[in-house]
């Protein structure tokens, strides 16, 4: 090989970069987070349901929150009529977080796992939780 040293150095750098995802992850247990639904408010509910069905909330909660933000802040609409006909007060702090008062165990668990940093809390006050 001509200029073998430089070329092999290049290959080593390429391999090191390509193998980046594997550093420190081989053999680690693949634990997926489960959001915790055990809060005093949820325990009090007779029928444990969210604003919309679970599957929808799992995939679309951020879109719903964004829609709520636009409705409340820009359109002065404060009532959301869910797909099952029930009405809810549009409020992150007073509706969502009333039941899901455990931000750390509910929101953050998945967000941290998936590397998501929502900008909800740039404006909203995060609920105070006992550490």
């Amino acid at each position: 090989m001509y200029n073998g040293g430089k070329i092999i150095l290049g290959i080593v750098i390429f391999l090191a970069l390509a193998a980046f995802p594997f550093y420190g992850d081989i053999g680690k247990a693949n634990v997926t987070p489960e959001p915790n639904l055990d809060t005093p408010e949820i325990r009090k509910l007779e029928e444990k349901k969210c604003v919309e069905p679970e599957e929808f909330m799992k995939a679309e909660h951020m879109s719903l929150l964004n829609k709520w933000r636009d409705l409340a802040v820009r359109d002065e609409t404060t009532v959301y009529v869910a797909s099952d006909g029930e009405s809810y007060n549009i409020s992150l702090q007073n509706t969502c977080m009333r039941c899901h008062s455990n931000k750390k165990e509910f929101c953050d668990k998945c967000h941290e796992y998936a590397g998501v940093s929502p900008y909800c809390w740039d404006c909203h006050l995060a609920p105070k939780e006992g550490k």
């Binding site: 001509y2 390429f14 980046f20 992850d25 879109s63 964004n66 998936a114 590397g115």
Partner: protein
């Protein structure tokens, strides 16, 4: 023709993933087997290609000179465009790889009032730069699926990328710019007659493939959402070599992964491997020092030479006898002197004789 063929190929690939996952249910095949094969192919393939190039000799110093060569001390050398040192070469390569300096010199030519006119054409450079950089950032952003917790530099990059805070999930600018830039590159191939004339299926296919990858990615993030936690469970399983297929990941994810796998497999065998090749371009990575250092052709083999001195040794006597001048006269010194003077008289006589 090449464009239609490539478009059809990409649509067919998407359809294969759709049918395979949604109708036949081959989730493990498309979610585990194909990605492993693809990653292995791109890594082994690129290393193989680079080693093959490394084994090819560079017979001549063919560095392209785009500015004043190193010359007399009072003539300014263009150190980056015509480097004569290793550091100059590194600077030139860095500008080439990071900023596409040679593409910046792109010209366009057109007929204006019957005359051929040239002008600077920067759109190709701009779109290519935007495309490559956003593609790199998108690739780095994907590292959030391959480390738990997501690396800090990835989170920092994401917050920068989504700093406009449009919508939720917030819009990543690079994804949008990537799609716009690669679409412009496709448009350019189709719209500029001269470029279309030299475009082949191998030029269109990567463009359509990357457009499809970006489209499925954007669809998956903003429109047809998939359960991101399950997706990360799958990706973390892959890199931990304990693959799992979680329930309930939408088919769009498998289409996206299949198209990316196609890109990975296609990479080492196509023009895409210019990513590695640019480092080994002799016109760029050689210093233009051919007047200072002799570039030895590695092909050179020992050649049996017969220089004039040996020629004279072989034939000195015969030459002297025939009156041909020699550099080193033989021992019979007077003969040499005679032949030389004789020669002069001959030279003088010839024109006279001819007249």
């Amino acid at each position: 023709m090449g464009a239609l063929f490539s478009l059809a190929a990409v649509l067919l690939l998407s359809l294969v993933a759709y049918v395979g996952v949604e109708l036949i249910g081959m989730r493990s095949f498309f979610g585990i087997v194909i990605p492993y094969v693809a990653v292995l192919t791109i890594i082994v393939g690129v290393v193989y290609r680079v080693i093959t190039w490394g084994k090819s000799p560079v017979p001549f110093a063919i560095s392209t000179s785009c500015g004043q060569q190193k010359s007399l001390p009072w003539i300014n050398q263009s150190k980056l465009d015509n480097p004569s040192t290793t550091s100059g070469v590194i600077g030139r390569m860095a500008l080439e790889i990071l900023l596409f300096r040679s593409l910046f010199r792109n010209n366009t030519s057109e007929l204006r009032e019957g005359r051929l006119a040239y002008s600077s054409g920067k759109w190709l450079w701009l779109a290519a730069l935007a495309f490559h950089w956003t593609f790199l950032i998108v690739l780095i952003r994907h590292m959030r699926f391959f480390a738990n917790p997501s690396p800090a530099f990835v989170s920092a990059l994401e917050s920068l990328d989504g700093f406009l805070q449009i919508g939720a999930p917030r819009l990543f600018l690079t994804g949008a710019i990537l799609l716009v830039a690669v679409s412009y590159l496709l448009y350019r191939r189709l719209a500029v007659r001269t470029v279309r004339y030299i475009s082949l299926a191998a030029d269109y296919f990567p463009l359509f493939l990357i457009i499809a990858i970006a489209t499925t990615g954007i669809l998956m993030r903003y429109f047809i959402k998939v359960d991101i936690v399950s997706v990360k469970e799958l990706t973390m399983g892959l890199i931990g070599f304990s693959p799992v297929i979680p329930e309930g990941i939408g088919v769009i994810f498998y289409i996206h992964v299949f198209l990316v796998s196609t890109l990975f497999v296609y990479f080492p065998f196509s023009k895409l491997v210019h990513a590695g090749g640019v480092f080994l371009s002799p016109t760029r990575n050689l210093a233009n020092d051919s007047r200072m250092k002799r570039h030895i052709n590695p092909w050179n083999y020992p050649v049996k030479l017969h220089p004039y001195e040996e020629y004279e040794d072989d034939f000195r006597e015969k030459m002297e006898n025939a009156g041909i001048p020699v550099e080193i006269p033989s021992a019979k010194a007077p003969a040499a002197a005679e032949s030389e003077s004789g020669n002069e008289t001959n030279d003088a006589e010839i024109p006279v004789g001819e007249e």
